[in-house]
Subunit: 293 residues, 2 copies
């Protein structure tokens, strides 16, 4: 299907779903953009601000769409999926493509593939913001970010291709990934940083209560290292339930390395810290070269 022919239905109009709707509505890339949210105030805002067309209910949204994008937290995914299928079943319809924006893919993929088989493809824009919700949504949220396109062996090739073209139309660099590789990778470069930032902010908060000096001396290092701790808590809580095994492994390894830091003689520690700086730079160089690759 051409992008210009597609009617896109977005389930969930939080930061991610509403930003997606805004960009697609503003750019006129697709034939139609409808959206739905379980929160009536959000639906009202989406309608009044022209973020998307908002149908009567989730069941209508499904029957008026060719491509469905679930932009809800993982824990609400099963309910949202059931509601959409109920609507489609009445009219005997099916869906040309189904995606989700969840930040882990194995668990959501298993769930949605039971409903949609080879019409499902995982879609993960590696973008976000410190403030969540439709009021912080912006059409530019995705610009320049990588977007994982997570296909299964039986995913219809035209569905994967549509997802990659959609990512590009949103200003992102599509990156093909298997579900397992995707989840292992984001555990380390995305989910672990978020939990670490939150844990560090909590340790600092406890120290600041004992010793107010900590807050007065906090500088750019603290601000940057904890930045993603300000990302919406709902998304963070989802990480552990959807990607717990990889996160557990990453945290275990991180703890080993911290303990090693504390026990190494000074010069060996210096060498490890230098290796850390190199590892960071290599990763950022690869990330920066993504679109060139």
């Amino acid at each position: 299907m051409e992008l210009g022919a597609a009617r896109i239905g977005i389930v969930g109009l939080g930061l991610m779903g509403a930003s997606l709707a805004k960009k697609l509505t503003a750019s006129g890339t697709v034939r139609r953009v409808t959206g739905w949210d379980r929160d009536g105030a959000v639906r009202h805002l989406a309608r009044s601000q022209g973020v998307a067309e908002v149908p009567e209910g989730l069941e209508e949204l499904g029957s008026e769409s060719d491509v469905l994008i679930f932009a809800v937290p993982w824990r609400f995914l099963a309910d949202a999926d059931r509601a959409v299928r109920r609507g489609l079943a009445k009219g005997g319809q099916t869906m040309w493509a189904v995606m989700d924006l969840c930040s882990a893919k194995r668990a959501p993929g298993e769930l949605l593939r039971r409903s949609w088989g080879g019409r499902y493809v995982g879609f993960h824009p590696m973008a976000g913001k410190e403030r969540g919700g439709i009021i912080h949504a912006t059409a530019e949220l995705f610009s320049g970010a990588p977007c994982a396109i997570v296909s299964y062996p039986d995913t219809a090739p035209e569905v994967s291709s549509f997802a990659a073209r959609l990512a590009a139309a949103l200003g992102m660099d599509p990156v093909e990934a298997s579900p397992e590789d995707h989840d292992a990778a984001v555990a380390v470069v995305s989910h672990l940083p978020q939990l670490l930032a939150s844990a560090l902010a909590l340790v600092a908060g406890e120290e600041a209560r004992r010793n107010p000096l900590g807050a007065r001396l906090a500088g750019g290092g603290f601000r940057d290292t904890t930045r993603v701790a300000s990302c919406p808590a709902e998304g963070g809580a989802d990480l552990v339930s959807a990607n717990g095994d990889h996160l557990r492994r990453g945290i275990g390894r991180l703890i080993q390395i911290l303990e090693e830091f504390l026990s190494l003689p000074e010069e060996a520690l210096e060498e490890r810290l230098r290796a850390a700086a190199s590892a960071r730079e290599e990763i950022l160089a690869i990330a920066a070269g993504r679109s060139a690759a």
Copy 2:
């Protein structure tokens, strides 16, 4: 002593010492700025670029200064201090004030107080950069940063006052602190972030070797959370030897919190993550209000 009357001698012309020298030389705040580094190439650069006047040796530097600032890594501090005192002893001179820029203060303070008693005051600019060395030094490095002024009960009040005025002249907000409070505070808002960033970069580097996708999907979250891992490794290795007890306590607490994250039910985790975001915002609000306070 007025700033304008002081001859400042800076021992160590790395990023911090050379930035200090550049700012003082450029602003004409003090009477004279001399500097010394154990690396001949650095001395040559300092001289040819007019960063500071460079005497023949460390012994001369001391005898031509009223105020001495040690800007060397902690592990070189005892040697540098001995060399300066040797020079002074020949002429029967002493020093009006002595400071160090070490990022922890208890251990360096103990060492320098044995040499200088109440003429010593700790000076800790909470500023830095991803690249070290004189070639990255800049007069603006300190602008807007907090600077801890670490006095002891017997520190001469005129010495503490001089240090605070010097910090202000460098564009910093002076923050008075006891050695113990200082080290506990920076362990959490500065040293712990640096070790965490390095540990995360190492975990990500290991994962990237197994699964190249990680690097391709790295975005702003990874970049910011690991930024301080690119700070000079020498400084990082010093943290553990100079502030190990506080760091060990901070890392221990952080590990507890990470383990808690992995075991909490989703809603309780969401609440903890929300508390982390609040703690971060409170700390940053206090840090931002520093100069107003």
